[in-house]
């Protein structure tokens, strides 16, 4: 295959730079995605943390929803962190409309409280690490998981990381620490998919 693997980072708003830096560190080419044209040629997509309502509006204003759903239909892995998790959830509590209804879960926004309740904690994450330093900022929780969804991690007995086929959804921010193991896990999914292609 010619050239480096390209992974997109949705760049409408939020912690874009951090995800891009980690991708670079792990040897793939990060692409900042603001328009649908920039989705072409990428092998996976990260939807970063930020404000889900703001990103959700910009997704609609620039017709990015269809092309991202198509990307998923092609089997390309998508990872949503914090706001990104809210954006790819099928159901959002107290919200009529999902943004990108992909991941079969229900999420509750700001589930831990306000900013003063934001915290960091070391978590075991299945298949990733025993002691991952997870940063939760006005974080959402996963309050229901569908049948095909595998739970990767919990905090206070509540679900904060899940996997469903080519989708990863997490409540916390792996991009805010030096620990690249979660991103490496996602890249593994991306590489797997590339290798399986005819």
């Amino acid at each position: 295959m010619a050239g480096k693997t390209k992974v997109g980072v949705l760049a409408l708003q939020g912690a874009v730079r951090e995800h891009m830096q980690i991708m670079e560190q792990l040897g793939v080419e990060p692409i900042a995605v603001k328009t649908k044209e920039q989705l072409e040629g990428i092998s996976g997509l990260i939807i970063p943390g930020g404000e889900s309502t703001a990103i959700g509006k910009l997704l609609r204003q620039y017709d990015l929803r269809g092309p991202i759903l198509d990307l998923h239909a092609e089997g390309k892995p998508i990872m949503g962190t914090c706001a990104g998790l809210i954006l790819i959830a099928k159901h959002i509590q107290e919200n009529d409309e999902a943004h990108l209804p992909l991941l079969d879960v229900t999420v509750q926004r700001n589930a831990f409280g306000r900013q003063v309740d934001s915290f960091e904690a070391d978590l075991p994450i299945k298949g990733v690490a025993e002691d991952f330093q997870a940063v939760f900022i006005r974080a959402p929780l996963i309050t229901r998981v569908g049948e095909e969804v595998e739970v990767l991690s919990t905090v206070r007995d509540q679900v904060v990381a899940v996997k469903q086929n080519n989708l990863l959804g997490i409540s916390f921010h792996p991009e805010l620490t030096e620990d690249t193991r979660f991103h490496a896990y996602f890249l593994h999914m991306v590489q797997d998919k590339i290798e399986k292609q005819p």
């Binding site: 930020g50 309502t53 910009l58 934001s118």
Partner: protein, 294 residues
């Protein structure tokens, strides 16, 4: 063990606001309009800066019923302003669950020597700065986010541009210096040495830096993004314009797509009139809010 109020959690909150617009609002109705337009946070105030200017007298922390009303109305983060040095106002705002406190020169300072020791708070703080020394003194006190001071309530972008250009140029200078020049530079700037060393090594500020003070149009917001701002605060610019909902939406889009000139041109049509601006040289020395803070 779960830990709250760490630097990572406080600074991380500001990282999530990057590329976004934070809007001043004075009631629940305006907060709703801001959220609807795609604001990443709202700043709950009693008066926007241009009205504070017009009213004169002592400007204090907002009436807490307004803050409470806004907290109840929107699901995006809510910020509020405390007077420089008034740590009790800040504690009250923290106890109400405000997500970010702006220790702000827009209000009348409560202390003419000392700023709040922000490192002792669980809630994060944003502070204004005109240059790198001021910015790093605030970070040294525990600020988790910075913004230019600009000249609030004027609708005139010139001061925000001056402050952003100054900071960026000072960062470039420090990055290019040799290590043995840094202590004298720290002395000249009045900046903590350790933080200057950090900039020397990383080439950037340790916290997010937004533009504030004079943003009135979509083009103003895009200009500040080009100059290296991580995002934009809009104070009087939205609700003093002739069509707040439209202005708010246009400024959000211009901030995200600051390099797409055709789009910003399109957004700028039929917007109605922006807030009335003030020429900075027409302000008397005591009317310049940017001089407040030390």
């Amino acid at each position: 063990m779960a830990q709250t109020g760490t630097d990572r959690v406080k600074r991380g909150m500001a990282e999530m606001q990057k590329g976004g617009v934070i809007m001043d609002v004075v009631n629940a109705e305006q907060a709703k309009i801001a959220e609807e337009a795609g604001a990443v946070a709202v700043m709950a105030l009693e008066r926007v800066p241009s009205d504070i200017r017009a009213a004169g007298g002592v400007a204090r922390m907002a009436d807490l019923t307004i803050v409470e009303e806004v907290l109840k109305t929107v699901s995006i983060p809510v910020m509020a302003k405390a007077r420089i040095g008034h740590f009790v106002e800040a504690r009250l705002l923290e106890s109400m669950g405000v997500d970010y406190i702006d220790e702000s020169e827009v209000l009348t300072p409560a202390d003419e020597v000392y700023h709040i020791d922000k490192s002792t708070f669980t809630v994060p703080f944003v502070c204004g700065a005109r240059n790198l020394g001021e910015a790093l003194r605030r970070v040294g006190e525990g600020a988790s986010m910075l913004r230019t001071k600009g000249e609030p309530g004027t609708g005139n972008i010139v001061e925000a541009v001056r402050h952003m250009r100054m900071m960026q140029s000072q960062i470039r200078k420090v990055t290019g210096m040799s290590r043995d020049e840094l202590m004298t530079e720290a002395k000249e700037l009045g900046a903590p040495f350790e933080l200057l060393l950090q900039i020397h090594e990383t080439g950037k500020l340790p916290v997010v830096n937004f533009a504030a003070g004079g943003v009135a149009t979509p083009a103003d917001a895009a200009l500040m993004m080009h100059l290296g701002s991580d995002g934009v605060f809009v104070g009087s610019g939205i609700f003093k314009s002739s069509n707040p909902a439209k202005f708010a939406k246009a400024i959000v889009q211009a901030t995200t797509h600051f390099e797409d000139y055709a789009l910003i041109a399109e957004l700028s049509k039929d917007l109605g009139s922006p807030m009335t601006g003030i020429e900075i040289s027409k302000l008397a020395a005591h009317e310049r809010m940017q001089e407040r803070g030390w």
